[in-house]
């Protein structure tokens, strides 16, 4: 299987991908994401980008949530 990796932030709005790696983000945030089931291997959808370089909205397992762009850029996803 070939991997097409990029950061979550580089995706166009509306795309659904699977998470390849979550690395280098604040441990508190990492725990929170894990609480919502945002982990390696899980499908995630980019719903929208907020105003003024604000947070981006994501959907995972039917739950909507938002995180900052800086952190989203540390989530590596697999386009394939």
């Amino acid at each position: 299987m070939t991997l097409h990796l990029c950061s979550l932030l580089q995706l166009p709005t509306g795309s659904t991908v699977s998470i390849h790696k979550i690395e280098g983000i604040n441990p508190i945030l990492r725990r929170r994401l894990a609480d919502l089931g945002v982990l390696e291997g899980v499908r995630i959808r980019l719903k929208g980008k907020g105003p003024f370089l604000g947070p981006i909205t994501l959907e995972c397992n039917g739950q909507l949530f938002a995180i900052r762009r800086k952190e989203a850029s540390r989530i590596e996803v697999n386009l394939a």
Partner: protein
């Protein structure tokens, strides 16, 4: 008497169920982290106590409210648990359920929000779920009360809830470690389920670690966990032990969900998608938020609240005052009693009661926002601004609640994860203009800016937010060395608030105001009137010779540079610390005004538009009220920070009022 605890993920409807089962009115809202304290109620059928806990995702707490729930489960011992899960989000919710089953107490699974799941085409087979987990599973709609009867009758015989026999196998390596830890725990008494303790220990749950540390030497236990972890790493099974346990649970949940969930015709959340496309739009989102805030104030002051307040005012100054006058005359009351009741109590308390309609309408709109799901979106919209100021967008939920009252708002800050962010939010809260300050603005705006009342009042609120943002930047730079903040917020689906919930939560908030009117404001009015009636020269002195005038006169010179250096203005400030409403009560008493129009006339003679602005700003900023000081102390657990919050407010209020008044004078305004 037995105690049964409600446990579950945030925003799944625990408090809604609690309210129905115990006939109470605890705080319900559509975001994660509404309940921040343990709440106790009695079950309607007398079967025991029900405990409502803050929502948690796992037993490993991050924020303070989650700590409350985790602590409760470890230190106190409920007879049984009701685990509330959101049927439309089953997979995520079950992760906690497994840990609760390991806790080993009799558990009932409340499958809530069945209506939402059905509407989204998600079907949960509760019989299979019940069979696999081995505990009773009851479908519920907590909001309408559907299924509550079944829960009540089940709890009626809480001894009948079968003990839990669920056991998940974590693989040979982990199971070996669990067994040896259990062995070490054997001599200990009064511990919850040992297998559960062992598992939580292996997951490095800080609450369990601390709890055990206080009772035994845990070095050996930790070593067992470490050994297990190295073994897992050596076999390439997982990087860490907690990760391993989690993945075993997730695997189990996935296979369980395949059996019980039917998502064949799952639909997206249409309403939420459409509303979000508009309300969190990258360009219109913020302007819409500002417009909603403007509409809030416009409704409160102009469209609905104002006219209603005028009605109440007419009632108090007309029939009630006259009625009291003639009744007192008829009873032959002494001059003293007569003056006390009419000039003290009716003027003081009545002067505040006039604002009841406006305050209730403000609360109604805030309750609507809380229950709609919009609050979480506001956090999202404000985050980039807040990030620049060194805080995070989540602070906006407490801030908006603070427009109603600062006390619950400071409590709401508990759900903010980072201690530094929570501290900043708490410290800045007094700058959020609460409903108690509203009568002052309403009064002055009516006198000096009759054409633009809502705008004048709105600018006070905006000013409070602007100063909060500026100080936030300064504080986070000076006190917290610009420590970075994290942000993540769950966005719940929008829900149409129910009339029942709305009226209840409005009443619960407004009740506090009415209670204050009957206690602090009443007592304050009597005392203020007494010291205005008595003076060094005896009773019934001219007001200018009263103790109140003497006392206000001491402060007045300090206030002269701010434009309101009269004893009258000065004497309102100290009682205003008890409750901000008393500022208006005191004015009513001092100016002997028969009604609001009378008071407005008096005020227009003593204040100029410029000094009025300066006074409004001063009242906005000058000090957190007594109740707020109390909760700041409780939440920060430090007198230093409590005094700091009072001190910076005073300095800020003085400086800003000074600058506004003096520069206004320079420009030739008056």
């Amino acid at each position: 008497m037995s105690a049964i605890a409600l446990v579950g993920n945030p925003n799944t409807g625990k408090t809604s169920l609690f309210n129905t089962l115990t006939a109470s009115y605890e705080y319900v809202g559509n975001w994660a982290g509404v309940t921040v304290e343990k709440k106790i109620g009695s079950l309607k059928n007398g079967a025991g106590k029900l405990i409502d806990l803050p929502g948690i995702y796992s037993l490993h707490p991050l924020s303070r409210d989650e700590g409350v729930a985790a602590q409760y489960l470890i230190e106190e011992s409920p007879e049984a648990l009701i685990n509330i899960v959101d049927a439309s989000q089953l997979e995520r919710n079950l992760l906690l359920t497994l840990q609760l089953l390991e806790y080993g107490k009799p558990t009932v699974l409340g499958l809530n929000m069945i209506d939402v799941a059905t509407a989204r085409g998600i079907h949960v087979n509760s019989e299979v779920l019940q069979d696999r987990l081995g505990i009773p599973v009851l479908p519920l709609v907590a909001r309408t009360g559907k299924g509550c009867k079944e829960i009540l009758s089940l709890l009626g015989q809480s001894a009948d809830i079968p003990p839990v026999r669920f056991k998940l196998h974590y693989g040979e390596i982990a199971e070996a470690a669990i067994t040896s830890i259990e062995l070490e725990l054997q001599p200990m008494k009064d511990l919850p389920n040992h297998r559960w303790i062992a598992l939580q220990l292996m997951e490095q749950n800080p609450v369990v670690l601390d709890f055990l540390k206080s009772r035994m030497d845990i070095r050996k236990l930790v070593k067992l966990g470490d050994a297990c972890q190295s073994e897992l790493q050596r076999k390439n099974l997982a990087l860490t032990l907690p990760q391993w346990l989690r993945s075993v649970r997730m695997d189990y949940i996935r296979s369980l969900c395949l059996e019980v969930l039917d998502r064949a015709d799952q639909k997206p959340h249409n309403l939420t998608e459409r509303l979000d496309a508009l309300l969190t739009h990258r360009f219109w989102g913020l302007p819409l938020f500002i417009f909603i805030m403007y509409a809030l104030f416009k409704t409160t002051f102009d469209w609905v609240g104002g006219p209603l307040s005028d009605l109440v005012d007419g009632l108090i100054s007309g029939p009630i005052s006259e009625g009291a006058n003639s009744l007192l005359g008829f009873l032959g009351a002494s001059n003293f009693t007569h003056a006390l009741i009419v000039d003290g109590i009716i003027a003081g308390v009545g002067g505040v009661i006039v604002f009841v309609p406006q305050i209730f309408i403000l609360f109604l709109i805030i309750s609507f926002l809380e229950d709609s799901g919009y609050m979480a979106r506001v956090c999202l919209l404000m985050d980039s601004t807040m990030e620049r100021m060194g805080l995070n967008g989540k602070a906006f939920i407490p801030f908006i609640i603070g427009f109603g009252c600062n006390v619950p708002a400071i409590m709401a800050a508990r759900s903010i994860e980072q201690p530094k962010d929570r501290m900043l939010t708490t410290l800045l809260m007094p700058l959020m203009s609460c409903s108690a300050r509203l009568p002052v603005y309403a009064l002055f705006a009516a006198v000096f800016f009759p054409e633009r009342q809502a705008f004048a009042v709105l600018s006070m609120y905006v000013l409070g937010i602007v100063f909060a943002l500026i100080l936030c930047k300064i504080f986070s730079w000076l006190l917290f060395k610009n420590e970075s903040s994290v942000f993540m917020i769950e966005l719940p689906p929008y829900r149409m608030p129910q009339i029942k919930t709305l009226s209840r939560s409005t009443w619960e908030k407004g009740k506090g105001f009415l209670r204050k009117a009957g206690t602090i404001i009443l007592a304050g009015s009597v005392i203020i009137w007494l010291v205005s009636y008595a003076g060094p020269g005896g009773f019934d002195v001219a007001m200018d010779d009263s103790y109140l005038a003497k006392f206000g006169g001491l402060i007045a010179p300090l206030l002269a540079p701010l434009g309101f250096g009269t004893w009258q203005a000065g004497s309102t400030l100290v009682p205003g610390f008890l409750a901000k409403e008393v500022v208006v009560s005191t004015m009513n008493i001092i100016y002997h005004a028969p009604d609001t129009t009378g008071l407005e006339n008096q005020i227009s003679q003593v204040f100029t538009p410029l000094s009025a602005i300066s006074f409004m700003i001063f009242i906005l900023l000058y000090i957190p009220c007594l109740a707020t000081v109390g909760v700041i102390k409780k939440e920060t657990n430090s007198w230093k920070w409590t005094f700091f919050s009072m001190g910076y407010c005073l300095v800020l209020a003085y400086t800003v009022s000074f600058l506004v008044f003096q520069s206004g004078k320079l420009f030739g305004w008056s």
